[in-house]
């Protein structure tokens, strides 16, 4: 029968019953699904076609009964499980229709069903996938809203609720634009969802700025995908809303930084330009090297001084400059060994023979500079040609040495002269003294006077020699102050003793006004010499019957000593000349009693060695004179004892 053949070949299972509801026909698909074969024929339908509700597990009404009663064509119904002959279960969709014979009477029913295991599995997969997707939606950091095709919210992620301060109940099933009191009715969003998305199925990274009531102005980055759901023909819109306000602020900050950096870089460029203009204007030759020691730039003065031109200099290794003239071992050492460790060096003197310009002495200064942001190093090398300066310095040094050696020679000469002069003086003074003393026999009066003259001349010569020697010592810096602390009065007494005899002989009165407790820290020998010189002069230039007064006192931090006489006095115009060598005033005085002309000069030198000063006061000729000098009470080289030292 053609109909059986046809039914056998179709993809769906087909089962036909007779008018009593007994199985009359099963095509091979139906046999496979139910597990029944020929033995099913003639059996009651529910025996072979056992179906239960998928969810309730209750037996579904016999389709034969249903069809016989309703007479309707039943469509494929879902959610049915067929229990097969062997007890296993198969999900099926089924439908059926009555078979009407001639005259409209129902001859039986035909059931059509299919195994929907695969579809069921697929549906489950979709459900699982949706659940999975929703759990992703719920957990992602980025706010996500899933909309249906009517733009109502199906679900939204936790982060959406959190970030936009809304809650699920006032969100789900709401039209997106109505969310949060119409806050989401954003024109740009409308455009995107209603115009862009339907055409492109997606949009990417649309930046939308909007002011929300609750959270203020926000910048959002919107991404959307239109998702077709296979199962139910519906459509979902996945809208990802990233709040990039903070990021934008950071970016703005970065932009600001970048702009500032730009400004800095610009000013760095300007500084660089400035630096290069300096390089070109300074008189001192400058050369800038890169980290491979190749010339980046050089100053005009570099080219001028070292007689090279820019073409043979730029980009050259410094050592190769001017036919390898710059391959100087000391320079290599500085650039390769010292600079990497120190970043700079100062005032290295390098002497080198250049074939073009001859032997030169150069003073090298270098700085290692980090140029720009990168790791690029620039070495700025300043090369000062100090050849001429050195020559001057050397000449000065030689001159200074010559002066020093001349001074040394002078001192040596004076020492030798002193020795050579004293040796014959020893005989002159010694023999005349012995003769004068008549140790070896008597002399007559004239002989005695003559020999006394020889003796006095010899003694004068000796004091000249002594004074010259002392001045030479002071000038050679060989006379040093050996300070110690001592009482002024005993020292003064000792000096007075030396002139007392002469003063008494001339009928002079000596008065001394010195506080017993007065102490000074000084070179006692020199101070005694100073006082002796002043006293000798006072005695020498004071007429018989006159007087000499010596006072010593503390004047601030100084010791002040004055020697006043009632003698011949000094004209004001002569007072300044008094303390220079060989300046003797024309006093018309017996030349044999005159001094060497060095006494006051030496006295002044001794005072000055002590850091003091000496001066004279005289109202004029015949009015007497007063010599004053001051020296510090304490020598810096001889500090006062500290409390600690006192304690021990």
């Amino acid at each position: 029968m053609w109909s059986e053949v046809a039914l056998s070949s179709i993809g769906d299972a087909v089962l036909v019953t007779n008018d009593e509801g007994r199985v009359a026909f099963m095509n091979p698909v139906a046999q496979t699904i139910t597990g029944w074969t020929e033995e099913a024929l003639g059996r009651q339908l529910p025996e072979v076609f056992r179906i239960v509700n998928e969810r309730t597990r209750l037996a579904v009404e016999n389709p034969f009964t249903k069809l016989m009663r309703d007479g309707a064509v039943a469509g494929m119904a879902n959610h049915s499980i067929l229990i097969r002959k062997d007890g296993t279960e198969v999900p099926i969709d089924d439908g059926g229709a009555p078979i009407r014979g001639e005259g409209g009477a129902i001859d039986g029913v035909v059931l059509v069903f299919r195994d929907i295991t695969d579809r069921k599995r697929t549906e489950q997969l979709i459900l699982d996938a949706n659940a999975y997707a929703e759990s992703i939606v719920g957990t992602v950091r980025e706010p996500l809203v899933i909309l249906d095709q009517n733009l109502r919210v199906r679900t939204a992620s936790q982060s959406f609720y959190r970030d936009f301060k809304v809650n699920p109940t006032e969100t789900e099933n709401q039209l997106l634009y109505n969310l949060g009191n119409g806050q989401w009715d954003i024109p740009m969003l409308r455009t995107l969802l209603e115009e862009v998305l339907p055409q492109n199925n997606q949009f990417n990274d649309f930046e939308v700025e909007h002011t929300f009531e609750d959270i203020g102005r926000r910048t959002m980055l919107l991404n959307a995908r239109r998702i077709h759901q296979q199962g139910n023909q519906s459509e979902l819109i996945l809208l990802a809303i990233e709040d990039i306000t903070a990021r934008k602020e950071i970016e703005a900050g970065q932009e600001k930084n970048r702009q500032e950096l730009e400004v800095i870089k610009k000013s760095a460029d300007e500084a660089l330009e400035y630096a290069e203009s300096i390089i070109n204007t300074v008189r001192e030759p400058l050369i800038a090297l890169d980290q491979d020691l190749r010339v980046v730039t050089a100053s005009r003065s570099f080219y001028e001084v070292f007689k090279v031109n820019p073409q043979e200099t730029m980009r050259q290794l410094i050592y190769d400059l001017g036919n390898k003239q710059w391959d100087i071992p000391k320079l290599r050492e500085l650039l390769e060994n010292i600079l990497p460790h120190k970043a700079s060096f100062d005032d290295y003197e390098v002497e080198h023979d250049f074939s073009t310009i001859g032997r030169r002495i150069m003073l090298l200064n270098a700085r290692q500079i980090q140029r720009g942001e990168g790791k690029e190093r620039i070495i700025l090398l300043a090369i000062e040609d100090i050849t001429a300066r050195k020559q001057v310095e050397n000449a000065l040094h030689a001159a200074k040495q010559a002066v020093e050696s001349a001074s040394r020679a002078k001192s040596e000469f004076l020492a030798n002269m002193s020795h050579e002069l004293r040796t014959p003086l020893n005989s002159i003074i010694g023999f005349s003294e012995v003769l004068f003393d008549q140790t070896f026999g008597p002399l007559n009066a004239k002989q005695t006077r003559y020999v006394d003259n020889v003796l006095k001349a010899g003694q004068h010569l000796l004091s000249l020699i002594n004074d010259i020697l002392d001045i030479a010592k002071v000038e050679a810096g060989k006379m040093t102050v050996e300070a110690r602390e001592f009482a002024v009065r005993p020292m003064l007494d000792n000096a007075i003793i030396l002139v007392k005899e002469r003063a008494l002989k001339r009928g002079l009165t000596l008065r001394e006004e010195v506080p017993a407790e007065l102490m000074v820290s000084a070179d006692e020998r020199m101070l005694k010499q100073i006082l002796y010189n002043l006293l000798s002069n006072a005695v020498k230039f004071t007429e018989p019957g006159g007087g000499i007064t010596i006072t010593a006192e503390r004047a601030g931090n100084d010791l002040r000593v004055s020697v006043a006489d009632t003698g011949i006095g000094i004209k004001p115009e002569d007072q300044s000349r008094l303390f220079t060598e060989f300046e003797q005033l024309d006093s018309g005085y017996d030349r044999m009693h005159q001094g060497t002309g060095l006494g006051l000069a030496l006295t002044r030198k001794f005072v000055e060695l002590h850091g003091g000063r000496i001066w004279v006061e005289s109202a004029g000729e015949g009015e007497g004179s007063t010599f004053h000098f001051t020296i510090p009470l304490l020598r810096p080289s001889c500090p006062a004892p500290t409390d600690d030292e006192v304690a021990t």
Binding site: S418, R422, P424, S427, I429, E433, V434
Partner: protein
Amino acid sequence: MKMRKVLLIEDNLMNMELATDLLEAAGCEVLKAERAETGIALAIAEQPSIILMDIALPGMDGLEATRRIKQDARTAWIPIVALTASAMLGDDDRAHSAGCCGYIPKPIDTRRFAENVAAFMEMGENNADGTA
């Protein structure tokens, strides 16, 4: 009291005569040497009570002669007094470090010379007594 022997080492003959006359007048026996080497030999042979040493001498100078006399056990005890016209600072120090016990600058004070020499001699004798 035994005659004190003074060894005078001096190259200037006039100064030699002056010192000799003054010392002999004070009752000393004076041994004379114009050169350091002769002086050293005389010191060893004659064992004088004191040596008056001129520092500037031809050949070996007075400082070196002093060192040699002080290093020789036979003469180490003899006091040596430097007699010198050199008045530069430090001369007395050099004389002392060479081994001189005193220093008489020239020109000499003829009125005190013999007296000064006697004082140094006594100093030396006391030292010698102490060590004997």
